[in-house]
Symmetry: D2
Subunit: 481 residues, 4 copies
């Protein structure tokens, strides 16, 4: 459905290391194109840091990659042999200080860190650091990670051993790309919640959240980073630290396949598009219906809809046209524009659905509001029946691993039966994918899954309170001095 | 295929008239949303004119609707009971002075004109006007139209009779929306080259190039404007002048169904999406092939690909992912970014095409360059065979009715056989829709078609020279005084 | 005083002609710097047209020269051997369509016109043209001038003779810079209301409203254009048409010396700074007072204040600091910011005025509002007495020659005695320069003056009505068709 | 002379505290206007932090106050009862991360710090902090100050005692404005290098670098903060901590009077304008000359020029016109624009200087380049003799207290006699103010002066090395891990 009824993940990561003097690649441009390919993972802010022989030049701002990085900004970033970048999703309260990669100077020189995920014990770590005199410029977990690495670096023999040391105390979900004056480092938490893969480009190496970023710059996929693994790339090539591997059961976020990742990416051994086709097929097996056409909610439900159609034998159709010229400054219609009848961003193709029994497939339902709007459009275009099929299980529990659903209150599945939800969103029948099918719809994946949002089984301990609220909203507590 | 290998039409039109004091519609906002729905017809410039009791306020600029019309600009446009707008496609030499609607003052007050099409005798009319002392601020045909209407208005009893008078001398393709201090007028040339339809909104009326603009604002489709008809809307309601109707054989541009119009529009009685599905079906009948999957070139080939798949029984697949965050300021990769391997705007879904015999469907081939690029991406993603099917006939002759193909030199089909083209773009087999099928793929359409671009049979006389070149490029002739 | 209590003139003009292939001057850059030097004559819009061998490229917009002309815009303007530019003052209703130079195509090719002044019979000429079928894109007199030149060009042997022909019918104030594909032309109305001078730059020539524009680009002053003279510059060099010279008594606007021109300019033989020093001296002779310090209202009263101080023997002081970082986007303080006590744009230097008897000199008083504000600031800073001296006569009559005072209603001197004005603005005494002194304060000037704003003696017939209002405000008349 | 030949100070500070629920002042707007009045102290970046009952909202960016703070930004800052702001000067390498006020969270809640000056032992303090695990996001001394306050806060009973504790270890020049959730704090180093004053506004208090900021918002001057004093403002009103007062000899920077401060400010008991008039008078006494006119270099030399003229009896004149429309985006003329003859930013008034013996007064000469350019303009305008008088002593030694002159290499007075300098800049005679006169030209000032830039007598120990270079430029050292 529409984007504001979706859950959102917090990041896309990228890093590139080219051996000096050997291969002529513009590392800043490569990072730009790669971030552009990862833009679906975060539209709130973006940043690039270029490392020219130890001197780091950074540019970060709120906005999309191609708004923030103009030609003059790219010129200022200049040349270098290592670079890294980040795209981030964030809500309204979000400010420029949260943009990543974080760049700071510590006793051993410059350090740049980008993070995808969420640290479940960030609040405790932060409090401990503050008690020792630390100051924080942002509310992001990334600053906590940076502090922990810096602390370890005081005694560790190298930056990679400092990262390994920090991983001893960090709990939760984190894929990391880190740059020191002379090294590019990638790391993935022992559960492997968030993806991270390695590619080669000429004599150099790249790290990226998804393989589609490798394709965008002509790099070749090498392998995924293993859960708990630390990858070190420097003038001696690539090497791996596996101390933390195998400590925990792997718990890859299943929503990477359901919604987050781009269909052309291959994650931990499985094609995302293929997984979605299979989710649609399982859905057809579990929730069959007599109907005339199967359509997907654009763009998130298209793959699963095709899988449903193939399995069921009901013709696949193109049900909607999405306006592709939507931009940042688009003026929203007001209530008085008679919301129910205007079809500005999305319109139904009447000839596909009129007088038809329609199966509408989407990947998930979170709050249900824009879902209801989409169904109303179908009804007004003449659909005789609407049967909704959802390519994931009911979303019931908050996620603490880097998505933006913190509270169950806003989840339509929380406290409502499937029948009640069907009535609320206005469909004739509604079917969700069963938890069992979720465990098997990704063919050939090397990992176990985290399905805590569906079943409440969290692979880690859960945060006691959300620390961000302390700094941003509680006025009564704010006055301490 | 990619947009720079497409032909482009020159315009989208919209007008709205609300009876004063009766219905509370913000005519400027309605025009904004309608232009946004018509944005696919022109991305170079846009403009809105609001008429508040005879006082016209205009804003026009280069750029997309949601870049040009910010909230502060909308506030400045203010309230009114009549409004009209325009979106325009244009090439590089295009400047702000060409943006429409044109607004001018003449002896009877203000006048605003927006035009979709091209006047084939514009050069002769312009020369005649200049010899009488006229000055021109732009190179657009629209200024010629405005002059002719103004001339007629000196003796005609009303603005609509002046429009009718001007139609006596204007040759070629034109759909027009015109606004006088108290009236909204629509007109379509006697051949009916370009579409124009009428809708109702409460007690008011709207005019639009396509019905998708009516849907976007919640208006109800009333009927199409007939070829040669003049529609007059004022405080007495809507009336029709049919003097020019039936004078010429109707010649609706077939490319409106092939590529220009949005699939959710209904034009002159036929659904655009339905027409494209049928074009795909005829293509399957004429050019069958043994294959494993049918995919469409996004977004223009998707409908016809589905039609081909249904008819042939070969599974429909999703073959490509298009990056949807592309924006105006995107920095293009250079040649040295090894163009052939980077997949920034378009990437193949490997699991769909790898080791498969692929049928690739697109609506047309013009120059063939980005088409070749798309096919190369398929090959690199592992496609075993690529069979291209094109849902229109070979494009052989220049168009003089409002599209941007002026010369046959750049048309790949000009001077090459189908086999040669297949080799140039790198496919195993290539099949075009036959001219006979083109005449019947639009079911239920009330009009005859102009297919001059395929067969060279022009419904009107053809311009002797392109007048624009005189003002913009010929230095030697420019020095006359 | 502050700028919103000033009258404003409508224009600054500039043109440059470099013989082809001889001298390496970037004509677009030269025009940019020259307009920047003439910016004080108009801040509402600006425009540059570059002529490259007959092909004219233009850029115009609302705003200051250094906002409108960015480096990328300058690149687009490109190279050429002729160029011209314009800066314009305008009120709120002003839109981009009014920006100059006007550029149009007519039967003999391209034509570009820039105008400083106002045509007193524009309304009649426009009505006549409209009756013949002309259409107007703006409300500016410049479009009328362009039409008249175009009409004459149909029969005249050259563009300069067409200009001469147009001057037969144009009444009022006009200095013109005109560019045809191969010529640069300057002209001044027979009364010579507005200035225009000629300079040389290498082998080329320039035309400018004021000599300060010549200094800004390193050009050498040659001479002023004579009232009624037409200057033609082309590949044969510079020549003069004097048909219209000497037909009317010369009537140079005295406000050019009082306020409009920059102090470092020399106009029609006299230094502007020198004239203002002398105005201050005459003022001291006519209105002596016992006081401790003479200060000028920044920046318009500084020169006359120094002249008053020298003549009177009372010490000259620096009484105010003006904030020089004021910009377009400055947020105005609201009434509730207690307007009387805030000193954001202007602050008094307390040590100069505290417990002193202060003579405050300014060039003129128009509405009197900001003048009263300035005096209040002085009082609050501790001035014991404030004696205001004004370096021009009471402004009593509207100006029809290109300034923005159309109605006497807003003039504080209209209907009030000097004593009443003194009380209204809060000074102890008030003295204006006598009309007699005004006739002689400009030493060595070759022209007679227009002093109609002081004495109501208009050198020409006066417009019956202001035509602009017809198009922009009268709703009742707007509905003619 | 022109600004790029000036030394620059690093800051303007402002803070405001309004008792809750008592007085209706918009603290964000007041800070905006105050920063606008302090803009001359720094044009590189600016920032405002608003404190709404403990919740701090900040906005900072590169650029001028009225570019950075648009109406929408001001709306986002919102309401509050405490606010503070900062303007900063910086060189090219400067980035947004250096913009102040710094805002961070530490164990006791939010903290915001703004700083004017430079910490001479910052390098040592930073190294010590890093060895304890601290990370730094910027190269600014302000982050060191913030860390030291945070460290002390771990054990101190209140934020003000933490500030007092930090002052034990901080050496060098610092005026500070600090905001905790419930308090506004001001502090000045024991030498009192940089100014800071207190005003009242209704029932509230303000802190500002200069009194002109108080005038701009209608506040009343209360008194200067004493060297070493800490001012605490909270719901109990204003109180003072004087522990550090009287520890060191007071050393107010004499350049505050010579150039930095605005002429309408009163600093530590003396009017800046009055001081400059007296500097000019002393200069006339020490370096008399037979001449026809005294002019000041705009705008920095105007006050001293008037003082010289009054004392010498030589007439004061207005010698230059500075273009007041200069903006950020102004395109600089190239060398090939024949630099010596173009007068874009500054032009001489020929009638003032032609054939005259001219005394040119400026406040100081640093590098001498634009000074030479100004003199060349005078010569070309016809000045017969040019006698330069400088209202300060030769600038010989680097400043370590917050100005941007770090190295003596670029100082024209370093290694050259007065006669040599006169020849280099092209004047007939040159006279500097003697060090003795500098000690007495500020009448009634309560402080001793720092004149280290003239005599090398530094009131504190001097930094061993500039730490900034370590992070930004030394590639060889950057690779530590």
């Amino acid at each position: 459905m529409m984007e504001n009824d979706k859950i959102h993940e917090a990041c896309g990561l990228f890093g590139i290391y080219m051996p000096e003097g050997k291969y002529e690649v513009d590392v800043a441009s490569a990072t730009y194109y790669a971030l552009y390919a990862l833009q679906h993972r975060g539209q709130a802010s973006c940043g690039i840091v270029v490392n020219d022989d130890g001197v780091m030049t950074a540019h970060k701002d709120l906005g999309l990659v191609n708004d923030v990085f103009t030609e003059s900004v790219m010129r200022k970033l200049g040349k270098g042999n290592i670079a890294m970048g980040h795209v981030l999703y964030g809500s309204g309260a979000f400010t420029r200080a949260e943009a990543q990669p974080l760049v700071a100077n510590h006793v051993k020189g410059g350090l740049s860190v980008a993070h995808n995920g969420a640290i479940t014990n960030a609040s405790e770590l932060r409090e401990k650091l503050e008690m020792e005199g630390a100051i924080f410029h942002s509310t992001s977990d990334t600053e906590v990670i940076m502090y922990e690495i810096t602390r370890c670096r005081l005694t560790a023999p190298s930056i990679e051993m400092a990262v390994s040391g920090a991983m001893e105390v960090l709990d939760g979900a984190y894929s990391l790309v880190i740059m020191s004056p002379s090294k590019l480092i990638g790391a993935r938490d022992p559960h492997g919640f968030r993806p991270l893969c390695i590619g080669t480009l000429g004599d150099g190496f790249v790290l990226a959240s998804e393989s589609c970023a490798l394709d965008s710059i002509g790099a070749t996929f090498l392998r995924d980073v293993e859960p708990g693994e630390i990858i070190v790339i420097d003038q001696d090539g690539l090497r791996s630290i596996t101390t933390h591997c195998g400590q925990k059961p792997s718990s890859l976020c299943v929503f990477e396949y359901v919604y987050f990742a781009r269909p052309d990416s291959v994650i931990d051994g499985s094609s995302v598009h293929e997984a979605r086709l299979r989710a649609g097929a399982y859905l057809a097996l579990e929730h069959p219906v007599q109907a005339d056409v199967v359509i997907g909610a654009p763009d998130s439900g298209l793959d699963a809809a095709l899988g449903y159609a193939r399995q069921s034998g009901i013709p696949y159709g193109i049900g909607f046209i999405k306006n592709k010229y939507i931009g940042r400054t688009f003026i929203q219609p007001t209530q008085t524009d008679r919301e129910n009848k205007v079809r500005i961003k999305l319109n139904a193709i009447s000839s596909t659905v009129k007088d038809k029994r329609v199966v509408l497939v989407d990947d998930s339902i979170v709050r249900g509001t824009t879902c209801a709007h989409t169904i109303r459009i179908l009804r007004e275009a003449g659909a005789k029946e609407v049967h909704m099929r959802v390519a994931s299980a009911p979303y019931l529990y908050p996620c603490y691993y880097g998505t933006d659903v913190n509270s169950p209150d806003k989840l339509i599945a929380h406290g409502h039966t499937v029948e009640e939800i069907a009535e609320m969103i206005g469909v004739d029948t509604l079917g969700y994918l069963s938890p069992e099918s979720i465990q098997r719809f990704v063919p050939g994946c090397k990992r176990g899954f985290c399905t805590a949002c569906f079943d409440g089984k969290y692979p880690t301990s859960v945060p006691v309170c959300k620390e961000k609220s302390r700094y941003l909203t509680k006025k009564s507590e704010a006055k301490k001095s």
